[in-house]
């Protein structure tokens, strides 16, 4: 549940920016439609045959590209869903009197059902388990088809009639091409819509940082499961067309080599690119026919599946040399052409903007003059921020309990990291959690945020137990966090990051996303995200890639992202770490104002002075135990706390409190402690 990278590396799966552009997309779709209309008019019979298979195979390939690109998962059994549906369709139309359209729907439904049953337990596990289980499924499907009388063993299901559309028999390759093409185009559009939808963006955020996305309320598991079932639906549709086209369904179509072929189409086309999947299916089919023709002439006597040598070679070479695949190459060429024409996005302008951005960041305030200027800027920055702060919904009255920890304990083997910690976090207050190194602060924090499960004890947020659940459970109730080691969604811009914070407030699911019926909702949330960025002085960098920002501004962006969720409780993991003095001032003042606006804050912080100055309530952990809780003044006066921080014995620490003289005495006794103090 940690930020374990289950997904494919970001560089390999990111859909190219150029193709995300809606206008370019529609031009692309129009060009594809024209090409598909013209193809049967000009293609030779051989090419026509290749074209029909390429179209049929494009459907499973699109499904697989969604699975790999969005869900970050690989199926090595895409052919099994293809085969299940082909068999189901063939058996339904040859053995039952039900209408063919209904048979096709049922056939696709069977594939989806099997995918649901397989994905339901397996998508909870790390990525490679699904790959291996689907591979196993592929063999099982193949063997069952080959061995059972129900599927007519190796003879397969034959006697499938050609389909009729409006009374016209789809009797040749040309007509069949036109019969399949609309489905491929519609499938492509649906898939493209999905990648740009709320669900699609959430999944690409998951691929950047699963923990961060889940902390914003993204239910990774259920989204992945939906995409997996959807990819099986695409495969199933391909299977139905296959049954119609070949008119006999034999166990061979479930064979592993076909799954490899689908995988090759997606990898070769460009991992995670829907366009790439369509291109890949044509390239692989051409490659297949070419190799089968060429290899026997080079190596006399070569028979059988000789095209495999090309598949293997291409698969390996593409992954090593061209992780972007065909689409990646197109992208590089496009960029090159643009640069040649002098139209490309000027990198100098962008870096100048970035330079300006970092100039504004208060860093290195050393000289008095600069400090003076800084102070003014901080004031104005905070003033401006306060004016436009987003609303902080407060479901409970100030002072009442928002978060309750009871007996929270975490053991690692024999080591007790957090031992029986119990305290309340009141609404509308800033609570600080401090402690020396290794005191269990971060473990405690991670149990609250859902990143790790406690050994025992409960975490109740707004009266609901959330311990041991995924972070998205608490997040959807209004608890979110920032990260000490920043978890920025690198595949999108700053606005896109903050937009992800709106995930909880959106409603559109996978289906609406595919149908493209969420434009208004997306625009509304995008506007809110932009307002928050403006309010916190990040409006000028909204369109820059998030990874390009300097550290301090990335942290502010994470705060924006968390605020966009409209949280009830904001958890901050060492928010001051890595910030300059002036940046700390800005953040501290912002947090005070957010608290005054009703937000509850819990922060883990190493910098004790900052916490004492900022927090209304301070909890101190030492060696896994909660040793003190109270106002900053109470805690500061607590002998146990002093002992913990000074590393002295308790009685010695009491002496510390007895008077200045005693303190002096202790200090002169041990100069090292003087340093610590």
């Amino acid at each position: 549940m940690t930020a374990q990278k289950t997904a494919l590396p970001a560089a390999q799966k990111r859909a190219p920016r150029i193709l995300q552009n809606a206008l370019v997309q529609w031009i692309g779709v129009a060009a594809l439609v024209v090409a598909l209309i013209v193809f049967p008019l000009v293609a030779s019979p051989t090419l026509m045959n290749i074209g029909v298979f390429a179209l049929i195979y494009a459907l499973p390939a699109i499904g697989l590209s969604l699975l790999m690109g969005l869900a970050g998962q690989v199926s090595l059994g895409q052919a099994s869903f293809f085969a299940i549906s082909a068999y189901a369709h063939a058996m339904l139309i040859t053995r039952t009197p039900i209408p063919e359209v209904l048979a096709a729907v049922l056939a696709v439904g069977v594939s989806m059902l099997i995918a649901l049953l397989v994905g339901w337990p397996l998508l909870r596990l790390r990525g490679h388990f699904l790959a291996l289980a689907t591979l196993g499924l592929g063999f099982i499907v193949y063997i069952v088809a080959r061995e059972s009388d129900f599927t007519n063993r190796t003879l397969g299901i034959s006697g499938i009639q050609r389909p009729e559309v409006f009374g016209m028999e789809i009797g040749n390759n040309g007509l069949f091409f036109y019969f399949v093409a609309p489905f491929v185009v519609i499938g492509l559009i649906l898939a493209l819509n999905l990648t740009r939808s709320r669900a699609g963006r959430a999944l690409s955020a998951v691929n950047d940082s699963e923990l961060a996305a889940e902390s914003l309320g993204v239910g990774t598991y259920s989204l992945r499961l939906k995409v997996f079932v959807l990819s099986a639906a695409f495969a199933g549709l391909g299977g139905v067309f296959y049954a119609y086209h070949v008119r006999i369904v034999t166990p061979e179509i479930g064979e592993f080599h076909l799954s490899v072929e689908f995988l090759l189409m997606v990898v070769l086309g460009g991992l995670g690119s829907v366009w790439g999947a369509v291109a890949g299916s044509f390239i692989v089919e051409l490659l297949r026919d070419g190799l089968r023709a060429i290899i026997p002439t080079i190596i006399p006597g070569a028979t059988g599946e000789v095209q495999l040598i090309g598949y293997g070679l291409v698969l390996v070479l593409v992954i090593i040399l061209l992780p972007g695949g065909f689409v990646g190459v197109v992208q590089i060429i496009t960029r090159w052409v643009r640069r040649m024409l002098g139209k490309g996005p000027s990198t100098t302008a962008r870096s100048a903007k970035l330079q300006g951005a970092s100039d504004q960041t208060p860093t290195g305030a050393f000289s008095a003059a600069i400090a003076e200027e800084e102070a003014q800027r901080i004031d104005s920055a905070v003033e401006q921020a306060a004016a436009n702060l987003p609303e902080m919904p407060t479901p409970v009255a100030t002072g009442e309990t928002v978060l309750r920890l009871e007996g929270l304990t975490k053991r690692y083997g024999g080591v007790v990291a957090v031992d029986n910690v119990t305290f309340d976090v009141p609404a509308g207050r800033i609570t600080g959690l401090i402690g020396p190194n290794g005191a269990g602060k971060t473990t405690c924090f991670n149990m609250i945020s859902g990143a790790i499960a406690p050994t025992s004890g409960t975490v109740s947020f707004l009266g609901r137990e959330v311990q041991g659940r995924k972070p998205n459970v608490a997040a959807s109730a209004g608890l979110t966090r920032t990260f000490q080691n920043l978890q920025v969604f690198g595949s999108t811009d700053v606005l896109g990051n903050v937009y992800m914070g709106r995930y909880r407030n959106g409603r559109a699911g996978v289906l609406r996303g595919m149908l493209g019926m969420q434009g208004a909702e997306q625009r509304r949330h995008r506007d809110v995200a932009r307002d928050i960025l403006d309010a916190l002085n990040l409006g000028d960098v909204a369109d820059l890639p998030a990874g390009d920002l300097p550290f301090g501004r990335q942290r502010m962006m994470e705060v924006c992202r968390a605020l966009a969720l409209e949280p009830t409780l904001l958890l901050l993991d060492e928010p001051m770490a890595g910030l300059s003095g002036a940046e700390r001032e800005v953040l501290a003042e912002l947090l005070r104002r957010l608290r005054d606006a009703g937000l509850t804050v819990l922060l883990v912080e190493h910098d004790v002075a900052q916490v004492m100055a900022l927090a209304d309530q301070v909890a101190v952990l030492d060696d896994g135990d909660l040793i003190a809780i109270g106002t900053p003044e109470e805690v500061q006066a607590n002998p146990k706390v002093i002992a913990a921080y000074l590393g002295t014995e308790e009685d010695e620490a009491e002496q510390v409190l007895e008077g200045v003289a005693a303190v002096d005495a202790v200090r002169s006794d041990d100069p090292k402690e003087d340093d610590d103090a």
């Binding site: 940690t2 374990q4 990278k5 289950t6 997904a7 494919l8 590396p9 560089a11 390999q12 970050g72 998962q73 690989v74 090595l76 397989v118 337990p121 397996l122 596990l125 790390r126 990525g127 490679h128 388990f129 790959a131 291996l132 289980a133 591979l135 196993g136 499924l137 063999f139 099982i140 063997i143 069952v144 080959r146 061995e147 592993f256 490899v260 995988l263 990898v267 290899i295 190596i299 006597g301 070569a302 028979t303 059988g304 599946e305 000789v306 495999l308 040598i309 090309g310 598949y311 293997g312 070679l313 291409v314 698969l315 390996v316 992954i319 090593i320």
Partner: protein
């Protein structure tokens, strides 16, 4: 009746020892590089076919077997150097796609070099024995012996020697491993050499009983993988036991139900294990995250 049962058990154990050797090779590379090597079984077939050709060319059986094993060990290291190590950010998932490509490539090369027909290696020296009506072929003893010596040796190397333990540390703590003097590059080469060696041995001991065919490696390697999953991808012992159980189960299915379904057993086991107990048969709750 009981004799049949025991006969099937013996056949299953010898078949299972081949899966076990492959599983040991898979775990050897997974623990060090977090790479799942789909091509592992193809290396076994490569060794088998190579040895067959050498014997046909007049090389004595023993030498042919040794040369084949060395050749495959070298091939595995070459794969690591030329292909595996070339990919940056090699996640386990990408490694599956990548080695799938390698597997396809090796299969196609074997198809072109040896044709589609399966080939058989001469039986190793020794005589069949008969205990209480159960006949045990000498080759089956060779297979079990290979597991005992090679599988056991690799297990001891990884679990008992300092270098072996350090190899496992490379995957978890690359920096720490470097401090104690093991470079990730060396660790990776050693791991793939061990995997290639185990694969080669499994290929040559199985080739006299089961045909060596260009396409059989994938299925064989995957069954080794199923056994490795039974070991949670980390435990040699659990994987070896899992492999033997798998081999025996397959024989029971073939003997009592239907030979055609034999190959489905492994994958049914795989899916069930992943659903019910993804950490494998490892009894101790290890730090493995799934």
């Amino acid at each position: 009746m009981l004799v049949d049962f025991l006969q099937l058990t013996v056949a299953g154990l010898s078949q299972g020892s081949v899966y076990a050797l492959l599983a040991v090779g898979l775990i050897a590379t997974y623990t060090v590089r977090h790479v799942i090597n789909i091509a592992q079984g193809d290396f076994a077939m490569l060794a088998g076919l190579g040895a067959v050709s050498m014997v046909a060319g007049g090389v004595p059986l023993l030498l042919a077997v040794i040369f084949a094993i060395i050749g495959v060990t070298v091939a595995s290291v070459i794969m690591e150097r030329l292909i595996i190590s070339r990919v940056k950010n090699l996640t386990t998932l990408v490694s599956i796609i990548l080695t799938l490509g390698v597997s396809t490539l090796i299969q196609a090369c074997m198809l072109l070099a040896w044709g589609a027909e399966g080939r058989r290696l001469p039986t190793f020296p020794g005589s069949d024995i008969n205990v209480a009506g159960i006949s045990i072929r000498s080759q089956e003893l060779w297979m079990l012996g290979a597991l005992l010596v090679v599988g056991g040796g690799i297990l001891l190397f990884y679990e008992k020697t300092k270098f072996g333990k350090a190899l496992r540390a490379v995957a978890e703590q690359p920096v720490a491993a470097r401090i104690v003097g093991i470079s990730p590059v060396v660790a990776s080469i050693v791991a793939f050499a061990i995997a290639g060696f185990a694969g080669g041995v499994s290929g040559v001991v199985a080739a006299p009983l089961y045909l060596a065919t260009w396409s059989a490696g994938l299925l064989l390697g995957l069954k080794g993988f199923v056994a490795a999953v039974l070991g949670g991808l980390v435990s040699f012992r659990a994987a070896i036991i899992g492999a033997l159980v798998l081999g025996v189960l397959e024989q029971y299915v073939a003997g009592y139900i239907d030979g055609g379904f034999k190959d489905a057993v492994a994958f049914l086991v795989l899916i069930l294990v992943l659903i019910i107990r993804p950490q494998g048969l490892v009894l101790r709750q290890s730090a493995v995250r799934v």
